[in-house]
Every structure is written in structure tokens, then in C-alpha cells.
């Protein structure tokens, strides 16, 4: 009875013209800026164009074969995996650690929360420039400090150094985001659980790992998905600004590689194929997480 009344009040529009008119603007936007470009990318990835882009013909999977025949793409995959894996792990661990510390603060909690979130609010270009100043070989204060410590610092020459620098910048930005979510999640854990664990004889560490951390599961899972995606797609600005993918492709992640192929090397078809590869990777990762990890998460 009640259910039927609710269905009635929810109502359906008579006919289809009015509903169509109402969702048309949204359809146009989605079609124009999402569906159409996506279709074009798929089309580009299976065709070959001449240098002027005036004629094109269907080539099947030739672009993908070309992609994986050279070592560049495999190398890009490797450095991307390393970058995404390390930044996600470090940004989440650091975010959690800092959130726990901030949560224990009293009044200064708001101050520190704001400070830690700041980097996330700063545009990547500005943050990148800042780090570039700090670690400019021979000039930047950070670079000089490293030199004093005996590190022969020149990220323009040493691939691993470039990688570490880009990772550091990215983590610096992402930590605030993770901290914010972990802080909210920590505040949602009733203190009764921690008190029960204390009375049950658990120390601080045990209480955290056995009781509190599992209760943060939904947040950890959410951040894992978000950080992986951010690492896959969000690293472009930092790489472009700091290393331009160098030295020798050491930081040429998929998202940067496809930009170079498409806009610097003017090979739109190859870039389209790379875009598809990137999207498939992101999709597979996300689906995998939802299918397999999500089962292990305890939702209250």
C-alpha cells in the first residue's frame, strides 16, 4: 500500500517528448565531449593517416603492433607500473600515518589538516615549479643539501633520480587528499572499539592494526582506486614540467608518452592506440579491485 503510493508520487512523465527534452542538454554535452572523441580515438587507433591528416585508411591492429614492436612502449609500461605502484603505496601509507597523528591533536588539528591538504589544492604546475627550484642541480637548496650529503644530484642526467623526484612531487600532492579521507574515517570509528581493545589488553599498535585499521577498510579501498587512477592519469603536468619524460625515457609514463607521440611526433594514430592501452589498463585495474579486493573489505 505504502509502496504503491510512493511509486505513484514518484510518478512517470506521460509520453517521451518532455523527458527527452529535459535530458537533451546533458546528452549533447556527453555526446560532444565524451562519446564523440572516444569514438574518434577508437577510429584513429585502427587507421593510418598521411602526414597532413587528409586521408586515412583502415589498418586493423597495425598501430598496436607498432606500439609493442619497439621497446619504447614496454619501457613506458614498466616505468608507469613502478611509478604508480610506489606513489600509491607511499602516498597511502604516509596519508594514513599523518592522519593518525593529526587525529590525536587537540585544537591545532584544523591547522595541520589545512597545511597538509594545501599541496593538493596547489595546481600541479605551481607545485612542480616549486620543486624544480628546490632541486635544480647545483642551485636549488634541496639539491645543495643532497650534494652536501654526498649525492651526485642531477636529475637531468640520472634516470633513477628523475624518477624519485617526480615520485616525491606526486606523493607530496596526493598525501593531503589521502589524509583528508583517512582523517574523516578515523573520526568515524567509535572510541568504544579502541577502549574495548585497551581493556582487552591490546597495546597501541595492536589496537590500531587489529581493530582500527580493518574498520578503515572502505576508505583504504576507495583511496587505492583513486590513487592508482591519479597515478596513471594525473602525473602528466609534473612530468611535463620537470623532466619531459627524460632522461632517456626514465619518466616517460604512458600518459606522457601518448602526448609526445600525438602532439610532438604528430602521430595521432599511435597516440590513439596508446590511449586505448591506457584506458584498458585503468579499466582492468579498477574492475579487478572491485571484484576481488572489495570482498575483503568490511562495510559496517
Amino acid at each position: 500500500m505504502a509502496a504503491r503510493r510512493r511509486a505513484a508520487t514518484r510518478g512517470t512523465f506521460p509520453g517521451w517528448l518532455l523527458p527527452l527534452a529535459l535530458i537533451l542538454p546533458e546528452l549533447v554535452v556527453v555526446g560532444l565531449f565524451f562519446l564523440y572523441p572516444a569514438a574518434r580515438v577508437v577510429e584513429d587507433s585502427v587507421t593510418a593517416s598521411n602526414a597532413f591528416g587528409l586521408s586515412s585508411r583502415f589498418v586493423g591492429l597495425a598501430n598496436f603492433r607498432a606500439l609493442f614492436s619497439g621497446g619504447d612502449e614496454l619501457h613506458s609500461l614498466e616505468v608507469t607500473a613502478l611509478f604508480v605502484g610506489v606513489t600509491t603505496l607511499v602516498a597511502m601509507a604516509l596519508g594514513l600515518f599523518l592522519a593518525v597523528q593529526v587525529e590525536q591533536l587537540g585544537r591545532s588539528r584544523v591547522l595541520f589538516r589545512t597545511l597538509f591538504v594545501w599541496p593538493y589544492a596547489v595546481p600541479a604546475a605551481i607545485g612542480g615549479t616549486l620543486w624544480l627550484f628546490l632541486f635544480e642541480p647545483g642551485i636549488g637548496p634541496g639539491a645543495r643539501l643532497l650534494a652536501d650529503l654526498g649525492v651526485r644530484w642531477n636529475f637531468a642526467l640520472h634516470g633513477p633520480q628523475a624518477m624519485v623526484l617526480v615520485m616525491a612531487i606526486f606523493v607530496w600532492q596526493q598525501v593531503g587528499y589521502n589524509l583528508l579521507f583517512y582523517l574523516a574515517a578515523l573520526q568515524g570509528v567509535p572510541s568504544e572499539f579502541q577502549e574495548a581493545a585497551q581493556v582487552d589488553g591490546a597495546g597501541k599498535l595492536r589496537t590500531f592494526w587489529r581493530v582500527v585499521f580493518p574498520l578503515l577498510g572502505p576508505t583504504t579501498f576507495f583511496l587505492l582506486v583513486m590513487d592508482l587512477l591519479a597515478g596513471l592519469f594525473g602525473s602528466f603536468a609534473v612530468v611535463d614540467l620537470v623532466t619531459q619524460g627524460g632522461p632517456a625515457g626514465a619518466t616517460s609514463f604512458l600518459v606522457y608518452q601518448l602526448y609526445r607521440d600525438g602532439f610532438v611526433n604528430s602521430n595521432a594514430n599511435l597516440a590513439a592506440a596508446e590511449t586505448i592501452v591506457l584506458l584498458v589498463i585503468a579499466g582492468v585495474l579498477t574492475v579487478f579491485q572491485f571484484r576481488f579486493l572489495n570482498r575483503r573489505v568490511h562495510y559496517r
Binding site: E192, F193, A196, A197, V199, D200, G201, L215, R300
Partner: protein, 390 residues
Amino acid sequence: MPAIAMEGLTKVYPTGQRALDALDLEVKEGEFLVLVGPSGCGKTTALRLVAGLEEPTGGVLRIGDRDVTHLPPKDRDVAMVFQHYALYPHMTIEANMAFPLRTRRLPKAAVRAKVLEVARLLDLEPVLGRKPAQLSGGQRQRVAMGRAIVREPAVFLMDEPLSNLDAKLRVQMRAELLRLQRRLGTATLYVTHDQVEAMTMGDRVAVLRGGVLQQCDTPHALYQRPANLFVAGFLGTPAMNLFRAQLAEDGQRLRLGSQQLPLPPEVLATRPALAPYRGRTVAVGIRPEHLALGATGAPATLRAEVALVEALGAEQLVHFTLDAPAQPVEDRAGRPGEEPAPLRLEQTGATGTARVGPDEAVRVGSTVEFGLDPATLQFFDPEGGQALWA
């Protein structure tokens, strides 16, 4: 040696709120002691201090022969049952019950054996593999008990453990919990705001108000001889009727509004503290069950107008009005954190309740005469509230 000894235990919060004021209380070996009082009276604070979840600002706390005042909870050998049970939602029932043993790094086989033993005792064996969310309220309550029992602690602490159950289950669990405590013989400190729970469960009951201990005694003694107006008004359902009355100069009569109650000499003789109140105002308390209808030959009678009759089957509650001033008792309902309000000025037309047989014909609006034995009257100082006995 008491199982728990609180000596001048005090807790003042940084805000200046005095949650607990110099509490002296002992829980004897094997005893079931109930801390009761309105919300904000400090009973939960006292329990948390004993558990070690909060640090006292003064006083000494002993568990057994050890001074544990500043020890962390894990070193106190206490187990606690929380109001919302605090079962770890991501663990199975078995893991929940094993948790306190695991933290003590007992061998796995021993842990499992102990958990099984306790699960059997509490009839929880079939649900050991489930998560807390899949259990009923009563089962969760038993799991919380089980988690406390597996450790075989020196002391059980319970924070309103039955308050989340529905009324019927609560009565059932009350008996079950008590039977369990008797069987284990573990000293228990039990906090509740429910005076019925306190009266039915406690070997002794400690009544707290505003962080100050009012009285600690057996339920029977508390009911028969409340130490002050607050205890008198707090324990008993319906509550004790409290009026203001004038004690005659000769101590032989009590004037209640327009009525006079004769007081036989033994009333004063058994209450030496009442003598100085001759010719003055006193607060007089009458338990509802001490007012009888149709009893011929009662030593005294009290006329009143019937305002409402509640038939409960086995008895009737007759609510009446009387032209005597009421004796206000602040805090009967209990508002947290408030200072006890000063006694209000006298008002006329006090209300009261009588407990009469189920077959008495009582008409609303009629005037009735209650029979009453003056020996059952309780007297209190109308300002300070202390009982006037010896």
C-alpha cells in the same frame, strides 16, 4: 581484602566539571555491586576510572592488593562489557572472544579450547563463525559477556549492558547475567540508571548524585531507610510520596495541610533525630504501598481526592491530590551536569500515589480515606534532605 577499593577517587575535567567527588567505595570479593543514579551523576566516570580509560585527578584505586591508580587498562586485570557491546564488527564471534586471549599471546590451541568452553556456557557455539552484525541483540550481549569471561579477570565492569535490549529480553538477561556472575564468583561493578535493575541485581547498591555518593547498602536497607530525600525519591516505583508537614510542639501530631495525623510516642522514640524538629516543618515520606483503602482500625487516616486510577491487574495505582505542600526533590528526573537546584518554595495541592488492591472501587473525583500506620512514615530535613533517624 576487597576486590576493588576506591579511596577518595576524584575526577575533575579540564572544563572544571567535577564528575566524581571523593568517592569511597569497596566491592567485596564475589560481590555484585550496582552503581546507580540519574544521567550525569558520575557513575560511568567511576567505572571508566576503575577500567583505566580515564585518569583520576585524585584518590587511590586498588584492585585486589595492587595500587592500580596509574596503571594502563591492560595491566589491571579487569574485563569490561560496554553499553553498545563494542564487538569488533570485522571479526567473527570466535575471533572477538579470542581477542583478549590472543593479546596475551596464549598458544592457539589453548585459546580455542577456552573460547569453546565459554561459548558452550553461553550457548554461543552455533554462531562462533558469524560476524556480530548477523546476531540478535541478546546474542550480541552474550558475546560481549563471553569476551569478558574468557580472560577470567579479577573484576567485571559493566556499563549499562542491558540498556540496548527490549524490555522482555532485558528481564530475561537480568536473571541470566546474575546466575552467571554467581557461578563465576567474580566481583562485579555494574552501572545502570535503571533503579529496578539496581534493586533486583545488586548485592549492594551505591546511589550517586552529582558525583557524590549518597548511600551504599543492600537494596532492602536502601528502600527501608533511605539516607536522604534523593535516595528516597529515586528508589521505588511509583516513587515515595513526599510532603511538607508541621510537627506539633508535643511531637504527638503531624499537621499535613488541613489534616492532623496522630503520632504515637514510639515514632519519636525510635527517631531521636526528629526531636529537634518539634514545632517546625519536616518533610514526610509515605511509600505508596503503605496507604491502604478500606482498612478499618488503622491508627491514622489521610483524606485525599482521587485524580486518576491506573488498573494494573494485580493492583491499582491511585493518584490523588492533597491540600498539603509538596516536598520538592530536585534531580529526580536527573538532568546531566546541572548543579542541584535550590529547593523551590512551598506549593499547595501536592500530588501522591497509593498502591491499592485490584478490587477496590475507586471513583475519580471522589474523596477517599487512606488508612496509614504512622510507624511507616519517614522523616527528612526539608532543606538539607537528610533522613531523621538516630
